[in-house]
Amino acid sequence: MGRTLIEKIMSSHGGGDCHPGDVVWIDIDNRTARDFAGASVVGNLEKYGGDSPIADRSKTFFTFDCNVPANTIPYANNQQRIRIFAGKNDLKVYDVDAGIGSHVVIEEKYAKPGTTTVGTDSHLNIMGSVGAFGQGMGDVDIAYAFKTGKVWFEIPESIKVTLEGMPAEGTEAKDVALAMLRRFSNHELLGKSVEIYGRWVENASLEDCVTLSSLATEMGAIIAFIPPNNNVLDFFGMNCDEAVYADSDTTYLQEYSLDIKGLEPLIAAPPSPTNVYPVSGKTDVKVDGVFVGSCTNGTYQDLKYAAELLRGRKVAPGVMLKVVPATRATWAKLLDEGLLKDMFDAGAIVSNAGCGGCASGQIGMTGEGEVQISTSNRNFKGKQGRGNTYLAGIGTAVASAIFGRIASVLELKKVM
């Protein structure tokens, strides 16, 4: 019988002939920790690591992205503690200027299709976007991976989701992800490995894949794999024989099809990413602030689109538009191509690369009663401050900033 994508990746990483429910020790290609929890990883290694706390220096590194540069003393202390440990052990640090670790890992081509990556970021399963395994874990797990190169892993059941049809114009990857959250909530895929198929993913850009896979955590899935398409393979300079795909004769715990034909822009209202509505049904909600960025929607493609929509337009009076590019490389491209000026002139506040609005206030929090539209992935109560956060794609976020109320990009293109 054929094997699913996760079974194939795990078998090729020391898992042997593994099946759902088996607990296997797997080899990890990329072992990372960020500034958040990274200091605890260091603490564990100092306590339990012995004389050789690092199994393989070339596969082990730190990525600072949560609170960059540190705006609290505890974070500053933690980052410095990591730098000292990294210096002693000759480990690379992608420091406070680098941007979101999960994106750096892809950008630097560590996480090639078929590889395994772990780190202290719960969205590390974003590697599913390139047909690679990734998993966020706690500091104990990660310290163990640093020391031994391995973690234990319980092989999950796999579910196949086929997206049928193509969305309407003005609809983007985030809307497809929200459509999945609307359909599956956070229970139906809980603890499962998901493989996503269909015409839309076959044609999606690498950035679109990143957006879709980044919401796997909110769906409760272990990971959402997108089998590498030509766009992804081209980025890594690979051909399809070098990537890993599920066997065509494999069977899944369940197979679903989800109709996205003509899908319109969607928005997740507080307090949950699964609380999804059509944008057109929420246009009476007044908006105080907009955040564009995060590991879900902070790529060059995302910010270029935002800049193009903002060009020659103005953010509504009294509305804050906060923009945080995912990585320094994205920042550089926006700068080189003059796109930062489009955003600046429209009234946007642009911050240095990092996790931005999702982390501890890198670019500000929301206050009581404040309504924020965010392109990020979580709107749980208290996550981005005291206010009410709605999750949406770039088009909806930018249109809402310009109108000062929830609006879709279609409205923006029609009216202005």
Binding site: A37, T72, N77, S122, M137, G138, T217, S360, K381
Partner: protein
């Protein structure tokens, strides 16, 4: 740390709108404002500090308590703090209809018992009653009621007995 398989203690039944509290994410368990804390003993005071109706949990919790919730407990971030804050308070175990995947790993790796009780009715158990949890059988007893959940997995059992992932690795 306890290595017992039968845990007895007072049961906190977490309720929201008359039902077992579901989707308690890691920001509700341990808010991101306190993530820079690295000393476990300091984490207890923040347990459920952002959970509506239970913000005073840390003051009221007693060593030995057991906690019971609904679906998807511990969804969200990878923070170990969301497990360690309970250990700091002396909470013996957390039970839920289901757990977020990362939370489950974190608990197992630090040798903290969690038990899944899939299909548990909302009103079977009462708040603040004494309860007995059998980790090996996955059975929770309290008052006149009993519920069969999932027994501890072999990995969880081994790591629990060792007292944590690193301690377990030393014995491998």
């Amino acid at each position: 740390m306890s290595r017992e398989f039968i845990l007895k203690g007072r049961l906190w039944v977490l309720i929201e709108n008359g039902k077992l509290f579901s989707d308690i994410d890691t920001d509700m368990i341990y808010h991101n404002a306190h993530l820079a804390v690295t000393d476990m003993d300091e984490m207890g005071q923040f347990a459920f500090g952002n959970l509506e109706g239970y913000k005073d949990f840390a003051d009221k919790a007693q060593p030995g308590d057991l906690v019971l919730a609904g679906d998807n407990f511990g969804s969200g971030s990878s923070r170990q703090h969301a497990v360690d804050c309970f250990k700091a308070l002396g909470v013996q175990a957390v039970m839920a209809r289901s757990f977020g995947a990362i939370y489950k790993r974190n608990a197992i790796n630090s040798g903290f018992p969690i038990i899944e009780l899939p299909g548990l009715p909302d009103d079977l158990f009462s708040n603040f009653e004494m309860a007995e949890l059998n980790l090996e059988d996955g059975i929770l007893n309290s008052g006149d009621n009993s519920f069969q959940g999932n027994p501890m997995s072999e990995v969880a059992r081994n790591i629990y007995l060792a007292g944590g992932l690193f301690q377990y690795a030393e014995r491998m």
